[in-house]
């Protein structure tokens, strides 16, 4: 009896240590539909916490926990064979250097954005494209996002590399989130869901501190589709109205055990302690850059006056 109790506590301890380590990372897997707080107006609303202090007595700045959603490209590729701390550090320095020149705002899939790119073949040498962000990925300097729009009844998608020096400006016209992390189903949806006016003005948010989630349910066109949407647990799509055999096959092919697979999630994410370190450094640099931009803007308006 005593041995079993000991084993149980050992297992609990293991599980607890796992959960503690992955508390931050595990919650990423279940799509939590809670609105995310942004630290855009950081000095107006001090979201960054100050840890009670390390051995030397200095307060340690900790980035807000939302940073891993706002700036996911600062986290490296979790594959252990290809990780190297020095290279990641150097890449981060380069990323922050680029961010000091061009403001890369916070955005999510579902946000409507406008990107201005230097283009030799355009009449005024700059090409501006407006679209909804349907997917984002990559880590480090390879980070990318795809914007989709329907222009003259033709669906157009453009993949932009976030740190490419040809990009002059990235504006977020409407900052919001959707119910899914990837909106590739818009390719099979009715065109009105992907159409945005090319001269769209930036929208002002009513509540600056919270990113709204748009609970829109999109209607898909009749089949054939590009992917088997019934197998992907999409939240942002209206009822697919498929014959029962599709759902039966989806159940057969589904892997419901994956949400219990701790090691799978562990291998897909960066440990929480490392995330904290990375974002603490990034947060301080980004705050400095934001401050410098504000000063430049104020000086600009003063000069105009």
């Amino acid at each position: 009896m005593l041995r079993r109790a000991v084993l149980q506590t050992f297992r609990q301890g293991l599980a607890q240590s796992f959960f503690k380590r992955n508390a931050v990372s595990l919650s990423e897997t279940t799509v939590t539909h809670q609105p995310i707080e942004t630290s855009n107006e950081a000095d107006e609303k001090s979201v960054s916490k100050q840890k009670p202090g390390d051995e030397s007595g200095n307060t340690v700045v900790v980035a807000p926990p939302e940073f891993r959603f706002m700036y996911p490209e600062f986290l490296p590729d979790p594959a252990m064979e290809r990780r190297n701390r020095l290279k990641e550090k150097l890449e981060r320095i380069d990323m922050l250097q680029r961010r000091s020149v061009v403001e890369i705002p916070e955005f999510y899939t579902g946000s409507v954005m406008a990107v201005t790119v230097a283009d030799a073949n355009s009449p005024n040498k700059f090409a501006r494209f407006v679209g909804i962000c349907i997917q984002r990925g990559g880590s480090g300097l390879r980070a990318w996002f795809i914007l989709r729009n329907v222009v003259d009844k033709q669906g157009v998608e453009i993949l932009y590399e976030m740190y490419c020096p040809l990009i002059q400006k990235i504006e977020v016209l409407r900052l919001e989130r959707r119910l899914d992390e990837s909106l590739l189903y818009l390719r099979d949806a009715l065109p009105e869901y992907s159409t945005f006016p090319l001269d769209m003005e930036p929208e002002r948010r009513l509540n600056n501190s919270v990113v709204p989630i748009n609970p829109l349910k999109v209607k898909l066109r009749p089949r054939p589709w590009l992917e088997r949407w019934e197998r992907q647990n999409l939240q942002g799509v209206e009822d697919l109205n498929l014959p029962q055999r599709f759902y039966d096959k989806a159940e057969k092919v589904a892997k419901p055990w994956e949400k219990y697979d701790l090691m799978l999630q562990y291998r897909k994410t960066i440990p929480a302690e490392e995330q904290e370190k990375i974002f603490a450094d990034v947060h301080s640099q980004l705050q400095q850059q934001e401050f410098k931009r504000k000063m430049r803007r104020r000086r600009g308006t003063d000069n105009e006056q």
């Binding site: 064979e81 290809r82 990780r83 190297n84 020095l86 290279k87 150097l90 890449e91 380069d94 990323m95 250097q97 680029r98 000091s100 020149v101 061009v102 230097a118 283009d119 030799a120 040498k125 700059f126 480090g140 300097l141 390879r142 590399e161 740190y163 490419c164 020096p165 040809l166 990009i167 002059q168």
Partner: protein, 343 residues
């Protein structure tokens, strides 16, 4: 038919060469120590570590030896030393016209020169005799990288370094040098050894793919995926005619072990040097997986060799204490802190 016969001969000779071994050559000194279960207290362990650190810190090049660095002249036929580095990954950079460039990041480890073997002595050794069979012999610099705790190595291995007074290194490499590019033992080699824009050759062990089939290993096309193909999708097919020699020729391409072979990547251009972290960015890719060790040296390609003198025999920090420029970029690259490119 004559050229066909010649092609077969070349393949035959190379197929008999042993490409991989899992053990070092017989003339290598036994390296790794079996871990002894020493019951030593943590205080004593800390003391031992401090003693080691004190003993080996601040190693400077041995002065007053025959190999003192007199101002030996550089000439176009000089062969300088190379450097041991670790391939720490791949980073994307952009050129000034917006074109993306894939660069490999190479971290120059803590290299120190261990020993110089003069040309006459090196020509008598087993490898030297082979290399310089019909050529004028050159000298050999033994360079070590990645200092480690002497505990993990055998006494014979540590003795290679104790003559010089260095902490034993995990990695050793030999670089063929001309006598005018000789360096005294204990000389550190850093990223400043190289020049921006120069071409280098990188020598490393390729990625180990294990036992691979004929499609991945040799690029065979295999068979049709459908249309009734019975058990013939990724196979080799025929392995010979019936007439010529009536047997399978040696060197016939078949499944087998792929990768884990030493290869050169020649003529890679250095586009960025970070002196603070001892890191070189090289345009292109390099043999081997991430975090593997490679050797870098000045290129052999005749059209990309030096026209002006590089840091010869190696880079030394200036004596007046001024720090070098931390991050040096090639003129073709777009620096990240500079304004966006407008075409």
């Amino acid at each position: 038919m004559f050229w066909l016969f010649f092609n077969h001969e070349q393949v035959r000779t190379m197929s008999r060469v042993k490409r991989r071994t899992t053990h070092p050559p017989y003339w290598h000194v036994l390296k790794n120590n079996q871990r002894q279960d020493e019951k030593i207290s943590s205080d004593n362990l800390r003391f031992v570590r401090e003693v080691i650190q004190d003993k080996y810190k601040n190693k400077s090049p041995i002065k007053g030896s025959d190999l003192d660095i007199e101002k030996k002249e550089w000439d176009p036929k000089t062969k300088r030393s190379g450097v041991i580095a670790r391939n720490i990954g791949v980073q994307h950079m952009w050129e000034k016209d917006g074109k993306k460039v894939v660069c490999t990041v190479l971290h120059v480890l803590d290299n120190h020169v261990i020993r110089y073997v003069p040309p006459e002595e090196y020509a008598k050794s087993i490898i030297g005799a082979k290399v310089f069979r019909n050529r004028k012999p050159l000298g050999c610099l033994v360079v070590g990288a990645e200092a480690a705790n002497p505990d993990r190595f055998t006494r014979q291995y540590c003795s290679l370094f104790s003559e010089v007074g260095l902490l034993p290194k995990k990695r050793l490499a030999r670089f063929i040098v001309t006598p005018n590019a000789v360096l005294p033992p204990c000389t550190p080699l850093t990223a400043g050894h190289f020049v921006i824009g120069q071409a280098v050759d990188v020598y490393g062990k390729t990625i180990d793919y294990g036992f691979q089939g004929v499609v991945k290993r040799w690029g065979f096309k295999g068979g049709p995926a459908s249309h009734g193909a019975t058990k013939f999708h990724r196979r080799g097919g025929t392995i010979g005619t019936g007439r010529d020699k009536a047997r399978v020729w040696p060197g016939q391409k078949m499944p087998g072990h792929m990768g884990s072979e030493r290869r050169f990547c020649r003529g890679l251009k250095i586009v960025r040097i970070n002196m603070k972290y001892n890191v070189i960015y090289v345009k292109g890719t390099v043999p081997g997986p991430t975090n593997s060790i490679v050797q870098i040296f000045d290129t052999l390609l005749p059209r990309r060799k030096f026209t002006e003198a590089p840091p010869h025999p190696t880079y030394f920090p200036p004596e007046d204490g001024t720090l070098p420029q931390e991050d040096i970029w090639d003129s073709s690259l777009h620096v990240f802190g500079s304004p966006s490119i407008s075409v």
